[in-house]
């Protein structure tokens, strides 16, 4: 699992949750919240979809790592690798 592949997984989940958002120009180093309308309900859904689709658990204390695409990749890539992906 590369970090870019990991970012794509997160983007796919966001596209599924928020089909009304334009994801073509998302900057990886800027907070997702600052680039589109995502509230706490949507972040809960990102976490839930990671669990549902990929078997990845994100404890509440770690939600902060999901702030931007870059931080998502840093945090999630080792978790995917630990699952052998």
């Amino acid at each position: 699992m590369t970090k870019d592949a990991c970012k794509q997984i997160v983007l796919d989940i966001i596209a599924d949750i928020a089909p009304d958002e334009d994801l073509s120009n998302i900057k990886p180093d800027v907070r997702l919240r600052d680039q589109m309308q995502l509230d706490s309900m949507d972040f809960l859904d990102i976490v839930m979809e990671l669990r549902k689709q990929h078997g990845i658990e994100v404890p509440e204390a770690d939600y902060i790592h999901l702030a931007s695409l870059d931080s998502c990749a840093d945090y999630l890539t080792p978790k995917f690798e630990a699952l052998g992906k």
Binding site: D16, I17, D20, M41, L44, D45, R51, K52, E60
Partner: protein
């Protein structure tokens, strides 16, 4: 334990809140079952047929309509959370609505799905009040109305800080109260804000085929996500053990167990399921949680022509009141015809060439539940319906173009009529007191004395049809999906 009858979550009631909660939970892999006593889904927003003719009950219009692309709205939240594509609801915006006050509707404010229309109407009719009105709107826009722990404040008091003319005050409150308030005379400010946004800042829309479309979409999502439902099988009793809802006794006499239970049937109605007294359904027997005092009658008149043929082609909804003050309170007589709501479901902006198969004219007034449920026998009930059908129509006609002079034309165009009363509401929804909007006391966090039983829907306190669905979503998220 018989594992085949154990659910992660059992939901009581297949109304908007129950279905929305069910979709969320099933989507995330919970084993969910919805138990519904009636044979039709929808609860307070449902449908029926008589002689091959389809009727909607409840829904006049979907509130909270915003144009595609507007972010952060309740409608947008709902669509995202339930993974519904906006086009699936196929919503068509209203033409315009009106608040008409005075014995013949002498003072009138028009509003549409474009808020600037309403603002300019207030400026035109109440020039001295417009600055205060704008301050009130600014406050409404910034108020955190979805907070689960806001402290209750009187909406009348807050509105009066900005609006000094009681006529305008009453006109603002009339639609907001009729479309969701369980409280007489006043509202909690947070609830006022929810409804003010839903009606005035956002707006009305409807699918061509009405509430059936919404329910069909919800059912499809729920089924697709793997949710189960049991129709004509309500929960008769919640059996308590160790402070929890330990088992559910169903109408068919069998029992199921569930890790979590979400009840959407109302606070007092739920209390009766686990309290000591058996659920008698009699008003006032709701244990310690107060039963709502506000109930309604609605007349439905089917016409052989569209309302536009009677000169009624402009108004989608008309909120009326004939008295010096608007009294939103339990009706003292069988029906209180002084104020009410008229709905013309044909008058939405449907695509060219599409309209409902027949004309519809619906009128709603406050009514007294005790009166309608204690009439001596079926003949007396039917006679009372006939009498009040006429009185409600006559009252409403005063506020329509042409006024009472339209009576004969309306009668000539009428091909079928129906009417629901407080008795009908209790019979089909189980709401004590015929209280469509439930108890005046809302439980925002949904908690009950039982640790695994939560409330959603009407008595959790997000008002309106969108509010009901968001309530189901919020409670499923808060108590089950995000629970530690």
């Amino acid at each position: 334990m018989n594992t085949s009858s154990h659910y992660d979550v059992a939901i009581i009631g297949a109304g908007m809140a129950g279905l929305a909660a069910g979709i969320r939970l099933a989507h995330f892999g919970k084993r969910v079952c919805i138990f519904e006593r009636h044979n039709v889904v929808g609860g307070l927003n449902s449908f029926y047929s008589i002689s091959g003719r389809k009727y909607d009950v409840g829904l006049h219009a979907m509130t909270n309509w915003v144009p595609p692309g507007v972010k952060g709205s309740p409608l947008g939240k709902l669509l995202r959370q339930l993974r519904i594509d906006r086009d699936e609801f196929a919503l068509h915006p209203q033409k315009r609505s009106r608040i008409a006050f005075g014995p013949g509707g002498e003072t009138s404010l028009v509003f549409t799905n474009d808020f600037t229309v309403f603002e300019s109407e207030v400026a035109r009719v109440f020039p001295s009040q417009i600055d205060g009105f704008r301050r009130l709107v600014a406050l409404v826009k910034t108020y955190d109305d979805v907070s689960l722990d806001a402290k209750p404040e009187s909406a009348r008091e807050i509105v009066r800080r900005h609006i000094s003319d009681t006529l305008l005050e009453d006109m603002l409150f009339c639609p907001v109260m009729y479309y969701g308030s369980a409280t007489e005379h006043d509202m909690e400010f947070g609830q006022f804000v929810i409804m003010f946004k839903a009606l005035y800042l956002e707006g009305f829309a409807r699918p061509l085929d009405g509430v059936r479309v919404i329910l069909r979409v919800l059912l499809e999502k729920y089924r697709h996500a793997g949710g189960e439902r049991r129709m004509k099988c309500g929960v008769r009793r919640v059996i308590v053990g160790a402070g929890r809802a330990e088992r559910l006794l169903l109408d068919d006499g069998t029992e199921v167990t569930a890790t979590h239970v979400i009840s959407t049937i109302g606070a007092a109605e739920t209390q009766l399921l686990y309290g000591n007294e058996p659920a008698s359904g009699a008003p006032g027997s709701g244990g310690s949680h107060p039963v709502g005092r506000l109930s309604y009658c609605e007349t439905i008149t089917v016409l052989d022509r569209p309302p536009s043929a009677l000169g009624w082609g402009e108004d989608t909804i008309v909120f009326f009141n004939d008295s010096p003050r608007f009294a939103y309170e339990q009706s003292r007589g069988p029906v209180d015809p002084r104020s009410g709501v008229i709905c013309l479901p044909n008058n939405f902006s449907f695509p060219e060439g599409q309209d409902l198969p027949e004309g519809l004219f619906r009128c709603t007034c406050l009514a007294n539940h005790a009166h309608w449920t204690t009439l001596p026998g079926e003949d007396a009930y039917q006679a009372e319906k006939t009498r009040w059908y006429d009185d409600i129509q006559r009252s409403a006609l005063r506020f329509m173009p042409g006024g009472l002079a339209q009576r004969d034309a309306l009668r000539a165009a009428t091909v079928a009529t129906d009417m629901f009363t407080p008795r009908t509401i209790t019979k089909f929804t189980g709401h004590l007191g015929g209280a469509i909007y439930g108890s005046p006391v809302k439980i925002r966090d949904g908690r009950t004395p039982l640790t695994n039983l939560y409330l959603a829907g009407t008595d959790q306190g997000f008002l309106g049809i969108i509010g009901a669905m968001l309530s189901g979503i919020s409670m499923a998220n808060f108590h089950v999906l995000a629970a530690k």
